[in-house]
Amino acid sequence: MFIIELIICFIATIGFGVIFSVPKRALLLGGGIGVVAYTILSAGLYFDASPVFSTALASLTAALISHFLARYVRIPVTTLAIPGILPLVPGSRAYFTMLAFVDGEYLTGLEYGVETMLRAGAIAAGLVFALAVFSFGKGIGHRYETNR
């Protein structure tokens, strides 16, 4: 059953790659990264980790793999990272937020809304951390001039 989900995730991620016009040689790689991200997210949820933590972990892994592969096949990182993180997008939470607000259930809406924001933030955190790892030594966003 889980295998079927992974296959569907692979195909859907490639579909997204075509929507964003990802170059042909990166399509399959992007799909593979999406599958890895989805596997980690599902594994985290299966072992009772919180959804936000699982999303952050999955996004971090996806971003690390995309940085590594982007260097290897020499294409911009975004062409791999964007399809890679799409399976993590909290689309269903965002939809239920909207639904609750339309029905006038503001408290439920806020609850879902906060979870949506946290999951989106977790995706961002994963991307940022992977970027930080791959910028060691090159420098990005300085705070102290240590070499004065």
């Binding site: 989900e5 995730c9 859907a12 790659g17 062409t79 964007i82 939809y95 970027l131 966003g141």
Partner: protein
């Protein structure tokens, strides 16, 4: 026309293509600075935001140059970003001279989308139905989500072609996608209405601006990051209001 004019032209053309088709701001700045330095320009400075690029440099022994381009459209075609990246890499390595680089860049700027439109609509349908399944849908929901997602994709493309207003097109696409999903469930195709609606909206997700906003904020391009983030937020709001309209009308 001197050499520095030519270099300025190709640099700004490359930057304009990259920024229009969804590259991060830092990539634009870095690419332009590298290209100008490779063409033996001194004192190179580049400043790019989401809506424009400034580039200034100095040719050895001659005057300073400073130009800007304004970028109005923000589309998503990562293939063009990759190709410009390739051209700039070859230019910096000295495999291309200024004239061939210009010819190649103009070719890239004029090239159509790498995938035909029907394939984009079809893959929007596949992506939408796939994600409706992953978000907890069932086998009978695949077909209605597929149809509704294709309708969403067709609407957003065609409305944008004729109205040329991006947010109105997204609003209408979300509205029509949601309506199609509700209608299909009403006529007995598919069971889980929520999952089908989510699937039909997935092709509209602003993935490129969201990812780029994070990247720009992190690399210190605060203006570009915040403006891209608000662009993604506006898109999400117009999707949400479109589908909310459909739901409150028909459900």
């Amino acid at each position: 026309m001197g050499k520095s004019d030519k270099v300025m032209d190709i640099c700004l053309l490359a930057g304009e293509i990259m920024l229009t088709y969804g590259a991060e701001t830092y990539r634009v700045e870095e690419t332009l600075e590298r290209m100008a330095k490779a063409a033996t320009m001194k004192n190179v400075h580049c400043f790019a935001t989401t809506t424009g690029i400034f580039l200034s440099f100095e040719e050895e022994g001659k005057d300073d140059h400073m130009q800007m381009v304004r970028v109005d459209d923000r589309l998503q075609d990562l293939n063009k970003v990759t190709e410009v990246n390739q051209v700039s890499r070859e230019f910096v390595n000295g495999q291309l001279d200024v004239e061939t680089a210009e010819v190649k860049l103009i070719e890239i700027a004029k090239a159509p989308v790498p995938y035909p439109l029907w394939l984009i609509h079809l893959s929007a349908g596949i992506a939408g139905s796939g994600f409706s399944f992953l978000f907890g849908g069932d086998w009978p929901d695949l077909l209605p989500a597929f149809i509704a997602a294709i309708l969403t994709s067709v609407t957003v493309v065609e409305f944008e072609r004729y109205l040329k207003v991006r947010f109105a097109a997204e609003f209408m696409a979300a509205f029509i996608g949601g309506t199609a999903a509700i209608a299909l469930v009403f006529f007995g195709v598919g069971d889980n209405i929520n999952q089908i609606v989510i699937g039909s909206l997935m092709p509209l997700v602003p993935g490129v601006p969201l990812t780029n906003a994070v990247r720009d904020l992190m690399s210190g391009d605060l203006v570009a990051g915040v403006s891209r983030g608000s662009e993604a937020l506006l898109t999400s709001l117009s999707i949400a209001s479109g589908v909310a309209f459909a739901i409150s009308l028909f459900l």
